[in-house]
Symmetry: C2
Subunit: 325 residues, 2 copies
């Protein structure tokens, strides 16, 4: 990792540590400090800072709007965890389990308000487009979460619908992160849009990689249980693709495993993984990931911007593509 | 009611009807349309329009920011109803009962985002102070709701704490509504602050009137069950005042009723009401309401603004004070 990347990481961590959401009543603000302390890749604010760095050098000035996307992202996690009844987040107890559901609802609400407060620290002359694009993106993230919940009750989800769901739920916010850097640097709408498109493609690849790692990660390197999505019958890219391409015994076996109420978890994971193996699902998914990453990085490569920061950004995206957790 | 008040009402209704929060997926947007269709006094956007009218004549231009406070208010109702497990809102099934809790959480989140979208339609030159003051107010409303939930588990809530809770939960948004009209008219910070103070005092009186009507409303005119707060042992101004002033048998009887697990609802309501009567709680509450209304209206009376709209606004506040539901 190069020196300038490390300086962006330091800026993000310093910015998050300096962020004081509020104080009283403690039930409202402690969960916000808690969820932000659980770490994570800080992918989104890093993208904002690097994107801004493509055009301007003084990224410390935009640290508050940059961390607003991380605060927004963690707000969505806090509310999603209630909806998914998730007990753990990044290996720690979720807010609604550690406190209760009402506190997780209300703390999340305040977190969304605080994300806007941080975004409002954008330079006044760029405030309106910055907020307008944020509003569109934030609503899309909610639409994606609603689609994801709707998919739980459906058996006929298509690859096209799935890709639209992850575009909304995950990719558009990564797109907005790259776009935000350009918005804050005062770049023209065309440049901002290019960065958004690059980020959205990278976000698609990022989510497909998440689906893939759930099945094929090295359990010693992966932070959570390998096969969690398989046990939950979660409609991932891998499962939808397998359901579409499987035939004969392979299809019957897959459907059988999805229906089973009682089973040995390890047995289910290895059975479905071997169906995926036989159908080449790993390669098919990797091909899709590569295609999205290429689309995203090509846009960046063709841009006339600071070459050193561009290199840092492309190297970061490359590491995301090769990540093991 | 005068003609100009009716024109404000028409503008608000037209603005709310013209507001399209979104479309797909329907599970996300139908609840927003539903809760906004249930009516209500539309108090907050009416205050925004009248406050703006004190300074400028073209209130149609600010209809979107004006209805943003109504959208925000209804977002808080949607989430509060989940937290309070309320089955009914304005006599209709609540969103989390008609759909489910997850949909009520997520629809509420989108509603908050849409409230910001509407507020962003403020004139660009006034955008930053408008959003900044909104962020402060919105967080305060959540703090008030958290305090209210905390009070449920406490027996020693003081009048001072109760007044601080309703200031945050209810009064500051009514204060912001009057302030917003002045912000959108480009008035100076001093004028904006005066209107906020006027609105906050009126909001305090408004909430105390709510507490009073729950016990003393004419059941034929009141929209919901008279005595609902009494049956729920809700810590209202009336109950806290009664607990503080009651002595001897009266205090013992009040505490006894609060502890009882099984009782005839009508009997409990009439027993506690007659304790309130003996302690003069109705007069004490009415005195407090009048004092807040006077503080609020005096600020308005001393302002050098359009006399005709001022008259309309003061008449509206006067009707709020004398309301029967």
């Amino acid at each position: 990792m190069d020196k300038s990347f490390e300086s962006f990481v330091t800026q993000v961590e310093t910015g998050i540590n300096a962020f004081i959401p509020g104080d009283q009543p403690p039930e409202l603000y402690e969960p916000i400090k808690y969820i932000l302390s659980l770490g994570g890749k800080r992918l989104r604010p890093l993208l904002v800072l690097m994107s801004y760095g493509l055009f301007k050098g003084d990224s410390k000035q935009i640290i508050k709007p940059a961390i607003s996307v991380e605060v927004f992202h963690n707000f969505t996690l806090m509310h999603d965890d209630i909806m998914d009844k998730a007990p753990l987040r990044r290996g720690y107890t979720t807010v609604h389990k550690r406190w209760n559901e009402n506190i997780a609802i209300l703390s999340g609400d305040v977190m969304l308000i605080k994300a806007y407060d941080l975004l409002m620290k954008a330079p006044v002359k760029y405030l309106q487009p910055t907020l307008k694009r944020f509003g569109v993106t934030a609503a899309e993230v909610c639409e994606g979460q609603q689609m994801d919940m709707n998919f739980e009750h459906r058996k006929d989800v298509t690859i096209k619908e799935y890709l639209e769901m992850i575009r909304l739920k995950t990719a558009v916010l990564i797109g907005y992160s790259l776009e935000l850097g350009a918005l804050l640097a005062g770049e023209n709408p065309e440049t901002c849009q290019k960065l958004r498109q690059a980020g959205t493609n990278i976000g698609m690849g990022f989510q497909l990689m998440d689906d893939l790692l759930d099945v094929y990660a090295d359990k010693n390197k992966f932070g959570k249980q390998v096969g969690g999505d398989i046990l939950a019958n979660k409609k991932t890219y891998l499962l939808i693709k397998a359901l579409k391409t499987a035939t004969g015994d392979s299809k019957a076996s897959l459907l059988d495993w999805l229906k089973k109420k009682e089973y040995d978890p390890g047995e289910k994971i290895s059975a479905i993984t071997s169906i995926y193996d036989n159908l080449n699902i790993r390669d098919i998914t990797n091909t899709a990931i590569l295609s999205y990453y290429r689309k995203g990085t090509e846009i960046l490569q063709h841009m006339d911007v600071d070459p050193s920061i561009k290199k840092t950004l492309l190297a970061f995206i490359d590491r995301l593509l090769k990540r093991e957790k």
